[in-house]
């Protein structure tokens, strides 16, 4: 089967068709005190997957709400109990004068949680691939992600020690490592994106805060030349220039930093997915910064104008965005695309859920 010219992926969904799913999900989630949200996620994915076409056939989501719920319960037991104990135990240790030991324990706990959040990222992808079917064939991984968890810890540790300058390298190599362990049918994914090309945009993000601070103090010292800018006595009126300066600073921090982060992420996803291939299929992702910007701006407008209700449509919007800009080129021989032999994980993405790791 050859795919040239037209997009290999297309999305046929319609928000009016999705609305009944979204609203009943919201209603059921509220009246079940949140427990229905696992089934809600499943219904949403079933809809989104079934409206996503790859070449000649729609995708199919076979995950169940029960799986996600069980994953959640397991994580609750694995973490809830130790965290509860740690909270009380830590308090007792501090009260009794062992603040140092409590600190070491907290550090260990933090490192362990960091390790698990790495594993969570790996397992989320594995679970999703194992529940995604196309032409009666599914994906998966034979790796359980333990090694990935360590890789995640040391790469970010090294990055932190080197003042976060190697973060793009850490992100990209982890992306590559994660996807290289995944497969679909008999084929393993190959991921060999390089972080070199995203580095400039990262530097922009890295240097902007420094620039903002320098600008802030520069402007402040310039303006203070003719009289104190900030009131020195209680009750003094606030200089309007000072208020303006603080406003400008806040704007630069929130909007400026957010924008530059978007500039970086846009490139990161293009490069990361661009380095991904499966057998003879090469994947591409074409969303540019302005597309991401429009997506986020639309998200904000939707949520604000609907007084928050619009949140229930965000997963729909994000999936549509992802599929619209995803493409693949190459050839796929259906008769050679045989069933995956990987073991499908028994429960859902409880770990990722616990760490609130969302993902496209």
């Amino acid at each position: 089967m050859d795919e040239q010219g037209a997009h290999a992926f297309s999305f046929h969904g319609n928000w009016r068709d999705y609305a009944p799913i979204a609203f009943t999900n919201l209603l059921l989630t509220i009246v079940t005190l949140g427990i229905y949200r696992f089934w809600a996620t499943t219904r949403t994915r079933r809809y989104l997957w079934s409206q996503t076409q790859f070449i000649d056939e729609r995708l199919e989501w076979t995950g169940t709400g029960l799986e996600l719920f069980i994953g959640f319960l397991i994580v609750l037991l694995l973490f809830g109990v130790p965290i509860l104990f740690l909270q009380f135990g830590m308090q007792a240790m501090i009260f009794q004068g062992y603040a140092g030991a409590a600190g070491v324990l907290a550090l260990l706990a933090f490192a362990f949680i960091f390790y698990l959040s790495g594993i969570a990222r790996f397992r989320m992808v594995r679970y999703r691939l194992s529940r995604t079917w196309w032409h009666g064939i599914r994906g998966g991984s034979d790796d359980k992600g333990w090694a990935y968890g360590w890789s995640y810890v040391w790469r970010y540790l090294v990055s932190a020690i080197a003042l976060y300058l190697p973060v793009p390298w850490a992100m990209m190599s982890l992306w590559n490592q994660r996807w290289s362990k995944m497969s679909f049918g008999p084929y393993e994914f190959r991921a060999d994106a390089s972080s070199a090309s995203v580095y400039w945009r990262f530097l922009l993000f890295y240097l902007l805060p420094i620039l903002i601070v320098v600008l802030f103090f520069g402007l402040m010292s310039m303006m203070s030349r003719n009289g104190a800018l900030f009131p020195t006595h209680e009750g003094d009126p606030i200089d309007p220039r000072a208020a303006g300066l603080i406003g400008l600073f806040a704007l630069l921090v929130y909007v400026g930093l957010g924008l530059v982060a978007l500039v970086y992420y846009a490139k990161f996803f293009r490069v990361a997915i661009g380095g991904l291939s499966l057998s003879t299929l090469d994947f591409h992702f074409d969303a540019r910064t302005r597309d991401w910007f429009k997506l986020i701006l639309g998200d904000i407008a939707l949520v604000v104008l609907t007084l928050g209700i619009g949140i229930i449509f965000l997963s729909y919007r994000h999936w549509k965005f992802f599929v619209t800009f995803l493409d693949a080129s190459g050839e796929i021989r259906l008769s050679e695309l045989t069933q995956s032999t990987t073991r499908a994980p028994g429960q859902g993405e409880g770990l990722a859920d616990a760490f609130d790791i969302g993902a496209i």
Binding site: T32, Y36, Y47, G103, H135, G136
Partner: protein, 359 residues
């Protein structure tokens, strides 16, 4: 035996390879089979078919026990084939069985019951938790407070005098001054009250300290710490279903509103205890006044009161003021020597750990 196909509107994946087949369908009352020339599947009983919903207007079925096996129709399946097919699941098996609106009604009733239980049960349960458990829990948490407890024979006697005056029949296990630089007092599980040294040294009179201590004794009598612990546990479990942020926020707000109610009750106990001990409530009222100005004045405090753990200081001050009887001669809570012993307890105790925060 009835047949349909082969045509482009009926397709089949065998779950072994991705090749798409267009089979001929043969069926009878017992079951069905597929035949696409190069291979066949079946016969299978009708019960083995699993409907797979949400496939964009098409009808797709799986086969129990054979993952990846799919039978699809471009629209609805042929009518006399369809009569044998189960309906696709929609909201989830249980909800489909009783209907969406009935399920919502049922869930609402259950949810209301659960919320009511979790919010009110701690008040019923806490009194039945054996004192000995609570004592052990308190001891495990506090121990000797890292050697920060200040005690001299004279300060011990003064605290004992206050205990007898303000909480003669309350199961208090210890009242102690801790060498901590905070203007505060806390009640810990197991009937243990800790007065932080700065509260004692910044108090203007023993009467003021007596008011604060009586408030803490009120917490011990009402078993508020245990109730709060049980409630916190219940709320974390209940709100675990929501995602972290929403749950944490609701949890915090609910816990705080219950805590305000407990604080008011402890204040009422304090007012009664001061009256019974013939100690003037006015110094305590003045203390709340100072506390209120520390918190940024009444207006700010009122604006943020819905998320505070304690009631607004001005209200508490007014309640203590109202309880004062005009013209009545109150007795001081402690003699000058006893008061001095309390103020100096931390400097006079030779083997106490020196003042500082916890770290």
């Amino acid at each position: 035996m009835t047949s349909a196909g082969p045509d482009a509107g009926i397709w089949h994946y065998d779950g072994v390879s991705a090749t798409r087949h267009h089979p001929r369908l043969d069926w009878s009352a017992d079951g069905f089979s597929l035949d696409w020339g190069a291979g066949r599947s079946g016969p299978h009983p009708w019960g083995a078919l699993v409907p797979i919903d949400g496939t964009g207007g098409r009808s797709v079925y799986g086969l129990r026990g054979e993952s990846g096996w799919r039978l699809g129709f471009a629209g609805p399946p042929p009518a006399d084939f369809a009569v044998h097919l189960p309906l696709p699941a929609r909201y989830g098996r249980w909800i489909d069985r009783i209907g969406l609106w009935r399920a919502i009604g049922l869930f609402t009733v259950i949810a209301a019951g659960v919320v009511f239980l979790v919010l009110s049960a701690p008040g019923w349960i806490a009194p039945y938790i054996p004192r000995s458990w609570e004592d052990r829990l308190g001891d495990a948490i506090v121990g000797d407070f890292g050697g920060r407890l200040c005690e001299t024979p004279a300060s011990g006697a003064a605290l004992e005098k206050l205990r007898r005056a303000l909480g003669p029949d309350v199961p208090i296990r210890s009242i102690a001054i801790a060498n901590v630089g905070m203007v505060n007092a806390i009640t810990l599980p197991g009937g243990r009250i800790l007065l932080f040294d700065d509260l004692v040294s910044e108090a203007k009179s023993p009467d003021e300290l007596a008011g604060v201590l009586a408030h803490e004794i009120g917490h011990v009598r009402n078993r508020d710490t245990m109730t709060a612990l049980v409630r916190q546990l219940g709320l974390s479990v209940l709100l675990g279903g929501f995602n972290g942020q929403v749950g944490g926020m609701v949890n915090g707000l609910l816990a705080m509103s219950y805590s305000r109610e407990a604080e008011r009750a402890a204040d009422r106990y304090s007012i009664d205890a001061l009256r019974a001990a013939n100690i003037s409530p006015l110094p305590t009222a003045a203390f709340f006044d100072r506390l209120g100005s520390l918190a940024g004045g009444e207006r700010l405090e009122r604006a943020t009161s819905w998320m505070a753990s304690h009631p607004v200081s001005a209200e508490r001050k007014a309640a203590f003021e109202r309880s004062a009887v005009k013209g009545h001669r109150y007795a001081p809570a402690l003699t000058a020597e006893e008061w001095k012993a309390l103020v100096d307890a931390c400097t006079d105790d030779p083997d106490v750990r020196k003042k500082g925060d916890f770290f």
